[in-house]
Symmetry: C2
Subunit: 351 residues, 2 copies
């Protein structure tokens, strides 16, 4: 592509070179310049070189607005996420971005912060940008505006959302299985009074369903209490920990499954500050395996969730390179055991 600033200052300040300028400098028509980029084989090698040289000299970059106006869609894909502070979404974005870049595409990231109004504004923005597709990773329900967009020609893929009753294209890890892994792990350690803490989101509900199944399948009876929260952040986790600390020993849990790692880290911190020993008094399992899970005050046992791979797959599906069905079973969750759920604390950490 074009590089660097202009050598001999061929352009006035503030104006960008156009196909017309390039054509004039190369001594060809505007059509030829355009074909040079869109159908390189259509122009002879000699002319192509001349055109590219002229373009380079002028610092020609093209005007995507004009291009889009003509062809009807842009090279960009839209990614709608609901939080920037959760590393899961950063990872998802990074995976999508790398895959998009490999195909000469770009990702427009929009963060709604779980605000439906901003979600709507961003979807409108995506449509006005004529993105060629949208990756939506909503925490909550499927934004109804997406359907309108699709009917008007912009496809979407839901990422990390339960493939529930809806019939939209969607890819996600097996959250039910992940929840099962987490709870089965706690039960195998002899934990019997479990609590699930999580938000009211479809994919979290699936994790909870897995937890319930594990308990139903357990050889010995175990209890499960469910604490519902609004947002799954570390701050909320700390708040939940404080309420737990007020409980009597009889109602205090010996195992917690958290809806995600952020929440788990908050819980962990709140519990430890309150004098609870983890994992001696209580085992804790998070979800997602964010990078910081390993650096926690007690390294966090968690379920690994392949966010980057999901993002990459979603891009491939939107670009028509991959079909949704082909991803089945590709994003299996995995139990990562660390100190927060060990039967005994690791000797090296607290000598």
């Amino acid at each position: 592509m074009t590089t660097g600033p202009v050598p001999n200052q061929p352009r006035a300040e503030g104006s960008a070179a156009t196909v017309g300028d390039v054509a004039a400098l190369a001594g060809v028509s505007r059509a030829t310049v355009s074909y040079t980029y869109t159908q390189p084989n259509r122009v002879s090698p000699d002319l192509r070189r001349r055109v590219l040289a002229a373009a380079d000299e002028l610092g020609y970059v093209g005007n995507d607005a004009a291009r889009r106006l003509r062809v009807g869609h842009s090279l960009a894909l839209g990614l709608l996420i609901s939080s920037m502070s959760n590393p899961v979404y950063a990872e998802l974005a990074a995976g999508a971005e790398a895959e998009a870049a490999a195909h000469g595409r770009f990702i427009l990231v929009a963060n709604s912060d779980e605000d439906p109004a901003r979600e709507r504004a961003y979807l409108n923005f995506f449509e006005s940008q004529q993105v060629s597709g949208i990756l939506a990773a909503p925490v909550g329900d499927v934004p109804p505006e997406l359907l309108g967009l699709r009917s008007r020609g912009t496809p979407f893929v839901l990422v990390g959302v339960a493939p529930g009753p809806h019939s939209y294209p969607a890819i996600s890890g097996d959250n039910e299985r992940g929840g099962h892994l987490a709870a089965a792990h706690l039960l195998a350690q002899g934990r019997r009074r479990l609590i699930f803490v999580g938000g009211a989101h479809p994919h979290v509900d699936l994790r909870l369903a897995g937890v319930k199944r594990a308990i139903a399948e357990a050889a010995e009876p175990a209890s499960l209490e469910i604490i519902r929260i609004q947002v799954q952040t570390a701050k909320v986790g700390e708040a939940v920990a404080r309420t737990l600390l007020r409980r009597s020993a009889a109602t205090f849990p010996d195992g917690i499954v958290a809806g995600n790692d952020l929440l788990a880290l908050g819980l962990l911190h709140g519990l430890i500050v309150g004098g609870i020993r983890v994992p001696e008094d209580l085992s804790l399992v998070g979800y997602d395996d964010i990078e910081f899970a390993d650096f926690a005050i007690v390294p966090l046992t968690t379920i690994r969730h392949p966010s980057a791979a999901l993002g990459a797959s979603a891009v491939r599906i939107l670009l028509g390179i991959e079909r949704e069905e082909d991803t089945k079973g590709r994003f299996e969750p995995e139990l990562v055991i660390r100190s927060s759920s060990l039967p005994t604390p690791p000797p090296s950490v607290h000598p």
Copy 2:
């Protein structure tokens, strides 16, 4: 003029409503529809209502490509960052995004992963998108392409970059002062064999300069060793920790200042796994105050860096709402003392 659609059957699949469609349905000219949005006072309230109703019925969203082609620039601002895994950039993006949204603008986020080729590709993309301005938060040097962009009419603001010898518009926290705060804190605790671990980035160099000044000003002599690394990630921090563990007691440090929190968390983890007690054997100070600093295996003392505020200010500067000079002294670093540098460990954490 394009043929108007049938009122009760809004649009054919795949096609979007245009001003022409809205105009036809509302029984006005295309110009009137446009003025309804761009200069609402120019059309009478009555007509305005009729136009908006028609637009609503058709799901009209507008075509930003056409708009941009005409007016020459877009409502979007470009944000160029070099890493998505560092929460500092997520915070910066969130701050910029919120401020942009408040002014009806949008942020296009581009992550170069420190790859100059991708950086160039994204700057070209921004130019082809005709963003009305660019926020650049490079880790390394100022990308030369930015200058070409500016000469062709797209302004930029550097964020978090040292206002060094260059004369580009730039805002940042006072990294020198932050480094000074960190080192002075360690020295005040009696630490005398300090190590600074950091990457070769301009803003990190400033932090180092502050550390050096603190040592020069110290009442008692202290030594400083500098360990240079390529990228400031947790993984690299762990690797550095492993090499430190091989040292003899005589050359082992009693205080470390890390170039950022990610690096500090890696160092912390590596040292503790290796049997070093923090802060008894060694005090550690990070930089940035990311959320996870507080949840670390030993909560991390760090320098708070107002990333979100920087992002918001950069947006205001690009929009001409604020001048660079007015931000002077607004982004002061702040020492946040946690367990990783306390003279004695906090009683509640290890009862």
